[in-house]
């Protein structure tokens, strides 16, 4: 008589958790490979292997990392400043009707204005070196402002009454009542904001061509019909944007976990 050992449900679940994204990625890379075989023109659609080769050539060079650093510093700084300004602006708007009345149409106008208009305006007013910073700031600000203001307005009224009755000071009230209520709205804003910061920031660089930026590399790839370079840099943008998003969300998740665990003393 023989016995069979089956993997436990938790082992299967863990294996599937890691295998699934790899399988999904493999599927789409396969589709891409088939498309390159069908098109059969590297200048129009470069193969996955071609992109990997070009990335392998770029990665060891100092210029590659310098270019990523250039764009990363400006776009992430724009995002972080927008997050800070959005939170402070929403907090002010929630406490002052005048600020709310003045800020709401401004934020709506920023949100509705095409990004290209801002890019051209900034190029007329300032150096192209700061373009990605200003554009990512302007694109993220309305999202964070609107989400945080919504979060502030959705705080639990009954808990705020408790704070009023017992005279709980603001510094004690913030981490106990306000932040846990607003944080999910802020996290949702950040999720959208990170991607938008990178998309708009790189688009601004392609138009403004600041020296040493990823946008400049994309423009040159187009100029010299170097499809492999275009794809390789696009892969880099997606990877860096995704990595930055994971980093921001991991930090915010830590804050959420710390708050949800509560205080024992």
């Amino acid at each position: 008589m023989t016995s069979t050992t089956y993997p436990s449900a938790s082992t299967r679940s863990l294996t599937w958790r890691f295998a699934r994204p790899a399988l999904v990625l493999a599927f789409w890379v396969g589709v891409w490979q088939v498309a390159t075989v069908v098109v059969h023109q590297e200048i129009l659609l470069v193969s996955p292997a071609g992109v990997l080769v070009r990335l392998a050539e770029l990665i060891p060079t100092a210029g590659f990392w310098g270019t990523i650093g250039h764009s990363f510093v400006r776009i992430s700084a724009g995002f972080l400043l927008a997050a800070l300004a959005g939170v402070l602006g929403a907090a002010l708007a929630a406490t002052s009707r005048v600020v709310d009345a003045l800020a709401t149409p401004l934020v709506t106008a920023i949100r509705s204005t095409p990004v290209v208009s801002f890019i051209i305006l900034v190029l007329m007013w300032a150096d192209s070196g700061q373009l990605a910073f200003v554009i990512s700031f302007l694109m993220v600000l309305p999202i964070i402002y609107t989400n945080v203001l919504e979060g502030i307005r959705h705080r639990d009224r009954s808990l705020l009454d408790v704070a009023t009755v017992f005279g709980v000071p603001l510094l004690r009230r913030l981490p106990a009542i306000d932040v846990p209520a607003v944080l999910p709205f802020f996290v949702a804003g950040c999720k959208i904001g990170v991607g938008l910061a990178w998309k708009s920031g790189i688009a601004a660089e392609v138009i403004g061509l600041p020296r040493g930026s990823i946008g400049e590399q994309l423009y040159q790839a187009k100029l010299f019909l170097s499809t492999a370079d275009l794809f390789a840099w696009t892969v880099v943008i997606v990877a860096v944007s995704y990595g930055f998003e994971r980093l921001v969300l991991a930090l915010l998740t830590r804050v959420q976990i710390r708050l949800s665990r509560g205080r024992t003393t």
Partner: protein, 200 residues
């Protein structure tokens, strides 16, 4: 003394309180009873400064530090029982003092380290009561504080309330005449339109 004179409160077309006169016993317990919709909670909100009357005068509240047990527990779900109590007390009161008070109303060690969202209804109610009674308050409003407590816990908590409220101006709002009787207080009845009359 805290008094309400000719207090009127409306919500839209509905008159909840209509010329209410009420005196709270200074440094003692006042029990307020009445049917649903008679305005008991509105009286509590007026005394706690959470509402302003449409007419009449609420006097004697100047400089009064207040504490309350609301009809709902109104706890910060992610905080522990100790965290909830210390939120209103500040750092001047040590955690050990809070733990000691929570144990007095029957909360055991395990329930003290969990976030209150994981506690039972009765345990949460007791946290809300300890929070109000440990606060450094001159006026305490207890709006149906014993709701959801079983017989054993209720007896324990009522004794705790009597001891803790001694010498402090306290308004107890209840539906249950037995609670007023237990405290040895003749309740004030609110009628349907929110006017007061001594209970028969």
């Amino acid at each position: 003394m805290i008094t309400l004179r000719g207090v009127t409160q409306r919500f839209g077309d509905e008159v909840v309180l209509d010329g209410l006169d009420l005196d709270l016993v200074d440094g003692g317990l006042t029990v307020l009873m009445g049917p649903n919709g008679s305005g008991k909670t509105t009286v509590a909100r007026l005394l706690l400064g959470l509402a302003v009357p449409d007419g009449g005068v609420v006097s004697g509240l100047e400089g009064q530090r207040r504490a309350a047990v609301f009809q709902e527990d109104r706890l910060c779900e992610h905080l522990t029982a100790v965290g909830n109590v210390r939120l209103v007390l500040g750092r001047t009161t040590g955690a050990s003092a809070v733990v000691s008070e929570l144990r007095r109303v029957g909360l055991d060690g395990e329930s003290l380290v969990k976030p209150v969202r994981d506690l039972s209804g009765g345990q949460r109610r007791r946290v809300a009561i300890v929070r109000a009674l440990m606060a450094d308050a001159d006026l305490i409003v207890l709006d149906e504080p014993f709701k959801g407590l079983d017989t054993e816990a209720k007896a324990l908590v009522m004794a705790y309330v009597r001891e803790r409220c001694d010498g402090r101006t306290t308004l107890l709002i209840t539906h249950d005449p037995a609670e007023a009787e237990w405290f040895g207080i003749r309740p004030i009845e609110l009628t349907r339109r929110g006017t007061s009359e001594p209970s028969r």
